[in-house]
């Protein structure tokens, strides 16, 4: 066999080069949108697309990335102009996938055109379907992080225990929404999260435990508030990616609006229920 196994990529002699222009386009777009979909910065996604394309033989490559789209155009070895676009519908944070794509693009840079297109595509597919931690562990850790945030903001042990319980329910709900095929609208998800948190925090406040409701609420909210999104928006604007910075700013504001509308509605509902109970002479 001519092919020599080395890591996951196979070296082939130059005359057996198998990367066509179409393959290169597919691979570069796939790598770039993986970075964007999993919480990478705009400049990182652009760099990844251009780096991969150049490593695989594009003469002149340019990428334009906003939070919802990856646009990529290049000139191939024969001098023809091409461009391609990939729409990004779902965004999350998965740092392991970013690290893997980074690793792949570095390896491509050093091996260059001698790689086999089929294998690179298999690696990209494997990265995009690589497993998360088990759901029960994620739910438990998210609850623990809510408890830690509550303690960090000056809550006591009872507040932390309440935040743990509410954070657990919140993450369970979010994981259940993830299972819905096609996904639920992001705004609706934040609306429901805000309502859930405020109703549960009010419920905990009714018990004779003397819980600091506001601290519990903000500690639990830290799982879903768009703080990182806001900071990333300003970072994009500072580094000159004005379009994607403005889009991320709007995204952060919309998520916060959903959470606050949800929580205000939640407060109104729990107040109304209390009044009904009082009118009925139960509480």
């Amino acid at each position: 066999m001519l092919a020599k196994e080395c890591g996951n990529l196979v070296y082939l002699p130059a005359y057996m080069k198998t990367i066509s222009s179409d393959d290169m386009q597919h691979i570069a777009l796939g790598a770039g949108s993986l970075v964007l979909e999993n919480g990478g910065e705009t400049y990182r996604a652009e760099e990844t697309v251009v780096r991969v394309a150049k490593a695989l033989g594009a003469k002149d490559a340019d990428a334009f990335v906003t939070p919802t789209v990856v646009i990529f155009s290049y000139i191939d070895e024969a001098g023809h102009h091409h461009s391609a676009m990939h729409r990004v519908l779902k965004r999350g944070t998965n740092l392991r996938k970013i690290a893997q794509v980074n690793d792949l693009s570095r390896r491509l840079e050093t091996r260059g055109k001698l790689s086999n297109a089929k294998q690179i595509e298999t690696i990209i597919a494997r990265i995009s379907s690589s497993p998360n931690y088990p759901t029960w562990l994620i739910v438990l850790m998210a609850a623990a992080s809510s408890a830690s945030f509550t303690l960090m903001f000056g809550g006591n042990a009872v507040d932390a225990a309440c935040a743990f319980a509410i954070g657990l329910v919140l993450r369970l709900m979010l994981c259940a929404f993830d299972k819905i095929p096609g996904g639920l609208n992001g705004f609706i998800i934040s609306l429901l999260s805000g309502a859930l948190i405020s109703v549960m925090a009010d419920l905990v406040g009714l018990t004779p435990l003397h819980v600091a409701t506001a601290t519990v609420m903000i500690g639990t909210l830290m799982q879903v508030v768009p703080g990182l999104a806001l900071v990333n928006a300003i970072r994009d604007i500072i580094s000159g990616d004005l379009v994607s910075g403005a889009a991320r700013l709007l995204d952060a504001c919309m998520t916060a609006a959903g959470l606050s509308i949800g929580s205000v509605t939640g407060v109104l509902v729990s107040k109304g229920v209390m009044q009904l109970l009082r009118a009925g002479g139960i509480a």
Partner: protein, 155 residues
């Protein structure tokens, strides 16, 4: 916290370590990177607390904290061959003004415009200071890499 005590700082370090490390789990970070993310987040939050108590300025605290977080992430990125983002995002979590943007929108929804403006202003200042700290650190890292390459080539 209005006064610095050894116990208070130690507790702040502990809770912020927990907050960053546990959050790194649902960001699906690799197992050793979770530890680093927690340590960096803890360092950033402790620095923020100390600077805020000493100078009384929130913005300076955010700037110092995020600069430290970003610088540590860039250093770790060099040593572990991972992108800096893997350490930066969990490390920033204790600092980011998530509560501020929520309170801003909540005041706006409740029709309390002056509160909304006040919260929005402080949130924007905090986010700006944090982003500036990161930009400074990553530019410093880029210059250091260039210098290192230059020196190595010169030899």
């Amino acid at each position: 916290m209005t006064e610095l005590t050894a116990g208070g700082v130690l507790l702040a370090a502990l809770w912020s370590f927990g907050a960053s490390a546990f959050s790194a789990f649902y960001f699906n970070t690799g197992k050793t990177d979770i530890l680093w993310g927690g340590l960096i987040g803890s360092a950033g939050w402790v620095l923020y607390t100390i600077v805020v108590v000493k100078t009384g300025s929130q913005a300076q605290g955010y700037l110092a904290g995020s600069f430290a977080v970003a610088l540590c992430s860039e250093l770790l990125a060099v040593f572990t061959h991972n992108p800096a983002t893997v350490f930066l995002l969990p490390g920033l979590l204790p600092l980011v003004p998530g509560g501020g943007i929520f309170y801003m929108m909540r005041s706006a929804v409740q029709g309390n415009l002056s509160d909304a403006l006040h919260n929005g202003y402080t949130t924007l200042i905090a986010a700006g200071a944090i982003a500036l700290g990161i930009a400074l650190a990553s530019s410093a890292a880029r210059i250091a890499t260039l210098l290192r390459r230059h020196i190595l080539k010169g030899k």
